[in-house]
Symmetry: C2
Subunit: 429 residues, 2 copies
């Protein structure tokens, strides 16, 4: 391996890196992928997959109310967190083997270890040096350690630790800016905990349309979850009855007593990669790339969380960017379309948005073309797929209005929403 | 009303007629809609809506098994059919009022009664005559009475009668060619009945891809439902222990004893409409129309079940055709695209297909364009929406392969299916 020159070396075997390496190999490139921990990355091992699995369980619990209205009366439900975790651990382990198989089938060299750039065209792993023509940086993101007094106490955790717990404690304070705040908070609530969500921001999912934000926040509160916007933790102390968190809520100081403080803030994983040896700046919030996913250094690409702010940390953005970077590295010319990357919350109600918000769209002023779609409610995460496709294909409202979606389904919303935007709804009162 | 000349008169207030009338009115036409029974037609009152509601209840029951794997152990579920029916009756009644409101808001004249053509430009209802410039025939379909000996016995019913039952009997034979056979059969099984599905055809959903047919049939059988292809009822007799049905299964004769025989066969509703007074032939299986939904008589359109064979009786086909007919009647030039009308079964697993089957596609031989999509599994009815849109927009496989569907969702299937069809799957082993 020492003397090999790879067409493409991918640093990081997560949701972005894996498809990047496979795509490079499919295009005839000699490809290697370097991963320090588990193949599949955050998404598969400690993110999307386990937490969507948990959300699915929460949704089954949430659906029992509807069942009751339909004459299906459930006598009682017992919840066993250990069984849930066991199932998802097995599922993830199965998926991880699957990723290994996919990489092998596509003849991608898997290198287990910590990769570090050591100058142009060189990555060092386990003492060996790999040579490359093109490099795709896909190291993702890492937890940002909080700096409030008491942040080092044992009860201050991240969502990673929830996945290790045998049993769930009873009282949680979730703190951060990640959209996961709501997903994980709702799951914990459904599994019997008291939950407060605190964020420095002026509210939940602040970058989305006002209607979506307002409805989500109301729904979350109605489910008995406390929402604390414009809130910081000023101090945390451990006492006999739990962790005492002093909160600055707007201008007031409040106190909550909990068993765990879950801090959910992530930033691009840039440190210790040797980025400076190829001329990249590791001191930025994240790496800047052009529409081809290429950094300021020719032949060095960056994808996924590494090249995006926290509100754009979505694994489908990483995988889409990864494939594009690989195709460009192999000599094609492909562009990333940030307008067509959806933003999804797997909550109940689900939230899914793609493209511009109403406010942004007003300024854009194109005529007839679909600019953005915003959904809150049952099935939003699936329904948004159509909108993603419509934006990707630059569909007009007229074309959407004429599409015969199957009845009765949620997917029909898109034709009617288009007709409504054209001023001629058929079914909206 | 007698002296009025309507731009568009719609005969039939169902899934096709209602949007047709509204669309005509939106385009500035004076529009009337004639309905003998309930607004909303079969779909809303005795079809899609009640049976999808029942399928939703069946799916909740089906989902409890997954919940158990996830550590959610349900102690016991009682099923109350009366509660289920009450809920859906209220739901339908609410929706029916909604349709009335929509028609009123769009200034469509609602005429309650049986309409009959009495020559060109004239329809008679309740002794009055309505004059029209354009007519949209939207009377839908009706049950076809079976002709086997014993077909008149009290236990021989249609699905309409199931919606009137206070309690469900225990043993059912479902007979016919409608896709509803499987949906209704599965619901009855989940609600505790013994179910056999018999069809003259060589199997279930005979026009779909072999893989889809085989998997659906296997799943249905695994759920304990008897499937009897190439089967006719030769005689039915009533005895003390139930209805004895003599069946001709391929070349053998079999007997089943059941409480109800549900016959599910529908044909275009053509009789008694006075079609011959405008020069249309009421003796055909269904009315022939051109791509603009116009019959052989200028200014007379026909939509929905009235202009389609039973395997194309889908309400979204009716509503899509209705809107197109209305637009053409009001002077636009619009065409119906049968390739983009999906075919959906709300079963578990769901089946949803759009466009050509593999066999048809091989003969078609276009290059790169998406010709057909066939799904069996959880969420198929929603997932097919994307495929409908892709076919409608004439998307290429390359465009689909490049779309960033949200992860982790079912909607991602379309990009990977496209990559797979292009010979370069990323995630399929």
């Amino acid at each position: 391996m020492k003397d090999d020159v790879f067409d493409v070396v991918v640093l990081g075997g997560g949701a972005g890196g894996v498809p990047a390496a496979i795509r490079a190999a499919q295009l005839g490139g000699r490809a290697a992928i370097i991963e320090e921990r588990d193949l599949g990355g955050l998404c598969m091992n400690r993110g999307c997959i386990p937490f969507c699995h948990m959300s699915a369980a929460a949704a089954i619990l949430g659906g029992l109310g509807l069942g009751k209205e339909m004459g299906l009366d459930v006598k009682g439900v017992s919840q066993d967190y250990a069984t849930l975790l066991k199932r998802q651990t097995e599922l993830i382990s199965f998926m991880r083997e699957g990723v290994k198989g996919l990489l092998g089938k596509n003849k991608v060299t898997i290198v287990q270890g910590k990769g570090k750039l050591t100058g142009k065209g060189k990555v060092e792993v386990n003492g060996d040096t790999l040579s490359y023509k093109n490099l795709i940086l896909a190291t993702g993101s890492a937890w940002i350690k909080p700096d409030f007094p008491g942040a080092d106490l044992a009860g201050v955790i991240t969502s990673d630790d929830l996945l290790e717990a045998k049993k769930l404690p009873k009282r949680f304070l979730l703190y951060g800016t990640s959209p996961w705040l709501v997903e994980i908070g709702q799951f914990l609530k459904r599994f019997g905990a008291e939950v407060a969500l605190a964020t420095d921001a002026k509210g939940l999912i602040v970058n989305e349309n006002k209607t979506i934000r307002t409805r989500l926040t109301k729904a979350i509160k109605d489910q008995g979850i406390t929402v604390l916007p414009r809130t910081g933790i000023t101090e945390l102390t451990k006492k006999k009855d739990g962790l005492h968190a002093a909160l600055k809520v707007k201008d007031k100081v409040e106190k909550v007593v909990v068993d765990r403080v879950v801090v959910l803030k992530r930033g691009a994983f840039l440190e210790g990669l040797g980025l400076e040896t190829v001329g990249l700046d590791a001191g930025k919030e994240y790496l800047m790339v052009n529409e081809r996913m290429e950094t300021s250094v020719k032949g060095v690409y960056a994808i996924g969380d590494l090249s995006a702010p926290e509100e754009r940390h979505y694994s489908h953005g990483a995988s889409s960017g990864g494939i594009i970077a690989a195709e460009n590295a192999m000599g094609q010319y492909r562009s990333f379309n940030p307008k067509a990357i959806p933003r999804v919350l797997f909550t109940q109600p689900q939230v899914a948005c793609v493209g511009l918000t109403s406010k942004e769209a007003k300024d854009a002023g194109h005529d007839g073309e679909l600019l953005g779609v915003h959904i809150i409610g049952e099935g939003a995460s699936e329904m948004i797929g159509q909108a993603v496709l419509a934006i990707q294909l630059e569909a007009t409202l007229e074309e959407l209005a004429q599409t015969a979606f199957p009845h009765p389904t949620l997917s029909e919303f898109l034709a009617e929403a288009a007709r409504s935007a054209l001023g001629r709804p058929i079914y909206i009162p």
